[in-house]
């Protein structure tokens, strides 16, 4: 017989052991010896918080009432776990990539860091979890009272017991659950303690099961006989309820805040998940293996009216197995406490990040993140939230009086949190899911759950029997348990069917008709395509935040050491060690993600936003950026075009300048040449005229000297004629004598005039007379002048030993080309542009004898004749092409 005082002592010792284990686990992690804490088996055991006191005690009660149906509570999670590749893997990857801190944070973050959704999910979680915490307290109290009755010590005050348990749990959770602010860091102490508790409860239940099967009835065959003889021998399976329960437990497994905490937030490695995918179903398998045997033995040996929810305890006590009963008690105690601890951590994170922090920030509009110690605020708010959550649980227990069947409230709680499922799954797989749709689905589903399941569970006090039977104001189709007049459904199935259907409907249609904000679209892409880019693009567009302000804020949230390490790492990455890093969008993104590990995505976003100046991305921003980019692109291409034009102009200018410089040099040379040309004959004229003036000479001499004077005067005149000719041509005052002429005759004249000169140089001129027989309408004298000039040039400048000029004529439609090509070295490329200019001469060789006006005159003449004269490069020597119109 176990005394009540012994029980108190044992449970206190057990609690002391848990504190020690948690403390030791934390220390191991802190001193870097906690590698084993990352082992998949620890992760698997931490998942066991799914098996609460409800399943520890309640499963047997459930089985005693409805046979095998209890197993659905484990079958749903089994399907989810073995299907980890579909959902859990994605969830875990997103949780790590986005530094998700809770299920509310996930929903908020997915739908554009919407705080509204964070608040809705938080409220839903608190309302759904509070009764569950009350349930755990109740189970502890009930199990105490069993021992108290058994020991005959008189029942301890159940409410006082519940209060003390709540206080103890709050102390444990505050102590080990709020050590690190960063919710993404594992709570090593808590996880270690939970792993120990998981083992204790499994061993306890297995021990009772083995005792019942082999100790009481004598083996599996005998147990089968007992089952056959029991009230639950036949299994009346309600198909709808069976399927609904499996679905419900699967949904709740994903959406329960505490399950999300251990599955996603505390996960550090996908390998953990891979192992847990079979190991956790195995754990649940073992937990439920002996449920039916215990139930049937309890039903057969215990007196009618015994509470089946306590069979796990009362059966060993009935057979006087005090030690076994004690172990079972500790198992149940473990189930209750581990669930409450993790739920309190998860809920306090949500309440603190989505309710307390946003309010705190909004009350300090002037740079909230900058004033006060944010870190302290977060920790205090989280501790207060833990106390508040447990206080609410105790209050619920106190108000409800703790009389209901355990399983009923458990299912109601499941159904409440399952309302998050459509938004969760939709958010993971459908990019089109929007904040509006999610909010609509959540609110509608939550309302239906409250109306059809939660409120009716309070009984007469809240909804009267008349209300239930006739509906509000007598509206029959709104009856809480028979929507649209469809009667006969199981109340739980009814509530789940309608709430999930309408929730999903509102979610989908709301998403279809609404437009997502840019942040939603960014986050949606990040979540749905998490495997394609695990990097986040949270879109800080401008980096005008002060690095120092950011550091100050980060220190207050993350702690000085961590924040400085982060900033130093970023500085090093940017290559400016020893200075503060530049606030690049990339860095802001990293910082925001780190902060969101402490205070949640929405709050972190708001805090960085306050310092950066609300520079996060919006459609307008995107449009503006796009416009700006477009404008800049256009502008730069314009600039490019302009600069090309300028470069062209500059080149032209440079060419012109070179030409001018060359011309100026030529002109100087020409002036000296022309003065020389003018002076030489003038000198001769003066000298010989002076001799003539002195007289006393023979006639022959006189005649000779007069001849010289005349020749020189003619030369002067010719030079002046040339100048005059050019100026007349250029001024356009020339009159042309256009008539029919034969090209050959013109050439003949030119060759006879220009082919030989006084210098005695001979030029071999080759022609093809047959081709030259062409009639042209032109000024023959002027044309002849051009030809003479070209032939004379060839004669004068061709430097071949046997100078030769080839004159060829080619007819084209509308024009005639006459080419004059010699066999000399030709004209250098750099001079080709110069030769047609006035006063230009390639050399100041004396023999040229001309004034450098010949080609300039030719060009003017040809222009007047409607043709042209151009230099023809690449002909071996100097070559000119005269083009005449026909």
């Amino acid at each position: 017989m176990v005394g009540f005082n012994l029980l108190i002592a044992v449970s206190l010792a057990y609690v002391g052991l848990l504190f020690a284990v948690a403390f030791w686990g934390d220390r191991q992690a802190r001193t870097g010896r906690g590698g084993w804490l990352r082992a998949p088996i620890i992760y698997t055991l931490s998942l066991s918080i799914y098996c609460t006191a409800w399943t520890f005690y309640g499963a047997v009660g459930y089985a005693a009432r409805s046979g095998l149906e209890f197993v659905t509570i484990y079958l749903g999670p089994t399907i989810v776990m073995v299907g980890w590749w579909w959902i859990l893997r994605k969830l875990v990857r997103i949780g790590r990539a986005q530094r998700i801190t809770s299920i509310a944070d996930l929903i908020s973050s997915r739908y554009g860091k919407s705080n509204l959704l964070g608040v809705i999910v938080t409220l839903l979680a608190v309302i759904g979890t509070t009764p569950y915490i009350a349930l755990q307290l109740q189970s502890v109290v009930l199990s105490y009272s069993v021992f108290a009755q058994q020991g005959g010590d008189g029942a301890a005050d159940p409410e006082a017991t519940a209060l003390w348990v709540a206080v103890g749990l709050a102390a444990f959770t505050v102590l080990f659950g709020t050590r690190n602010l960063d919710a993404n860091e594992r709570h090593h102490g808590v996880v270690t303690a939970i792993a120990v508790e998981a083992v204790v409860k499994l061993i306890a239940l297995l021990a009772v099961g083995i005792f019942v099967v082999w100790g009481v009835t004598g083996g599996p065959a005998a147990i089968a006989e007992t089952i056959h003889a029991s009230p639950i021998a036949t299994w009346q399976l309600d198909g709808a309820r069976w399927a609904t329960m499996i679905f419900l437990s699967a949904a709740a497994f994903l959406t329960l805040p505490r399950m999300f905490q251990v599955l996603v937030v505390e996960n550090v490695d996908e390998k953990q998940l891979a192992t847990a995918s079979w190991a956790f179903p195995l754990y649940m398998f073992l937990m439920s293996l002996f449920v039916v045997p215990i139930a049937v033995v309890g039903l057969s040996v215990l007196p009618e009216g015994a509470n089946p929810d306590l069979f796990v305890l009362t059966v060993p006590l009935h057979f006087d197995q005090g030690g076994l009963a004690m172990l079972t008690f500790l198992g149940g105690f473990s189930s209750a406490t581990s669930m409450v601890i993790v739920a309190a951590i998860a809920l306090s994170t949500m309440v603190s990040n989505h309710i307390v922090m946003p309010i705190w920030i909004s009350t300090r509009s002037a740079g909230a993140a900058m004033s006060g110690d944010v870190r302290q605020v977060v920790i205090v708010s989280r501790r207060l939230s833990i106390a508040a959550v447990l206080g609410l649980g105790w209050l619920y227990y106190h108000l409800s009086g703790g009389g209901e069947a355990l399983a009923a409230i458990g299912l109601i709680s499941f159904a409440g949190v399952a309302q998050v499922l459509p938004s969760l799954i939709g958010g993971l797989f459908w990019r089109g899911a929007t904040r509006v749709g999610a909010a609509a689905g959540l609110i509608l589903g939550f309302a239906i759950w409250a109306y059809a399941l939660f409120l009716p569970s309070f009984g007469e006090g809240v909804m009267t029997a008349r209300f239930m039977a006739e509906g509000p104001w007598g509206i029959g189709w709104l009856r809480p348990q028979a929507f649209f007049g469809i009667e006969g459904m199981d109340p739980v199935v009814h509530a789940i069917f309608w709430s999930m259907a309408l929730n999903a409907g509102a979610f989908i249609s709301g998403s279809l008709v609404s437009f997502p904000r840019p942040m939603e679209r960014l986050q949606g892409a990040q979540f749905v395509n998490v495997f394609e880019h695990s990097r986040t693009a949270q879109g800080w567009t401008r980096g005008n935040a002060e690095a120092e302000d950011l550091l100050v804020m980060a220190q207050r949230i993350m702690g000085a050491r961590e924040a400085q390490a982060l900033f130093q790492a970023e500085s090093a990455r940017q290559g400016k060690e020893g200075y503060l890093p530049d606030t690049t969008p990339d860095f802001l993104r990293i910082l925001e993600r780190e902060l969101s590990g402490s205070v949640g995505a929405a709050t972190a976003h708001a805090m960085v936003g306050q310092i950066v100046g609300g520079a996060s991305v919006s459609v307008d921003d995107l449009m503006a950026v796009a416009d700006e980019t477009q404008q800049i692109l256009e502008y730069s291409s314009q600039l490019e075009a302009k600069s090309e034009e300028q470069a062209r102009t500059a080149r032209q200018l440079q060419e012109a300048n070179e030409k001018l410089t060359a011309l100026s040099i030529q002109k100087d040379a020409f002036l000296s040449q022309i003065s020389h040309e003018l002076r030489t004959p003038m000198t001769s004229i003066r000298a010989f005229s002076e001799i003539l003036k002195e007289g006393g000479m023979e006639d022959a001499d006189t005649r000779k000297y007069s001849g010289i004077i005349q020749d020189e005067a003619i030369r002067l005149t010719r030079l002046l004629d040339d100048l005059l000719d050019l100026s007349v041509l250029e001024a356009g005052q020339v009159t042309l004598n256009i008539q029919q002429a034969n090209l050959r005759e013109v050439l003949d004249r030119a060759v006879s005039a220009g082919g030989t000169g006084r210098d005695g140089r001979t030029l071999d001129i080759r022609r093809m007379p047959a081709r030259e027989e062409l009639g042209v309408e032109t000024d023959a004298d002027r044309l002849c002048q051009v030809f003479i000039n070209l032939i004379a040039n060839a004669r004068k400048y061709c430097d071949a030993t046997a100078p030769r000029l080839t004159i060829s004529v080619a007819q084209h439609p509308g024009r005639v080309d006459i080419d004059f090509a010699d066999n000399g070295t030709g004209i250098p490329t750099e001079s080709q542009t110069m030769i047609f200019e006035k006063f230009s001469r390639l050399s100041d060789q004396q023999k040229a004898g001309g004034a450098g006006l010949g080609l300039a005159i030719c060009r003017e003449i040809m222009a007047k004749l409607g043709g042209s004269v151009t230099y023809l490069p690449g002909q071996g020597g100097a070559a000119f092409r005269v083009t005449l119109p026909r």
Partner: protein, 94 residues
């Protein structure tokens, strides 16, 4: 007897993809297992003992299947951390 040389490339990666396909099918199989008792349930009552044996056997089979598949996948190139069917994973680069 010697095996003929095969022209099949990336045998390991191919095998891994099929293993992952099997992993994906597993929950469907589980759901089938667990929903089978609903068939004909409206017309006949079943023995709790036998139905329980079926359920637990199916359940255990599912667990063993999951464990074997996870073991096989984690030994394949890439381990359990990446999915070759998804763009950007290591195997797709070849």
């Amino acid at each position: 007897m010697t095996r003929r040389p095969t022209t099949f490339l990336a045998r390991d990666t191919y095998r891994r993809r099929r293993l992952i396909d099997a992993l994906r099918v597993l929950p469907v199989l589980g759901a089938l297992f667990f929903l089978v008792p609903m068939l004909g349930a409206a017309t006949t009552d079943r023995s709790t003992a036998y139905a329980g044996m079926y359920l637990f056997a199916a359940w255990f089979l599912l667990i063993v299947g999951a464990a074997l598949l996870v073991r096989a996948v984690s030994r394949s190139p890439g381990g359990v951390a990446s999915d070759p069917l998804e763009p950007g994973s290591v195997e797709d680069e070849d």
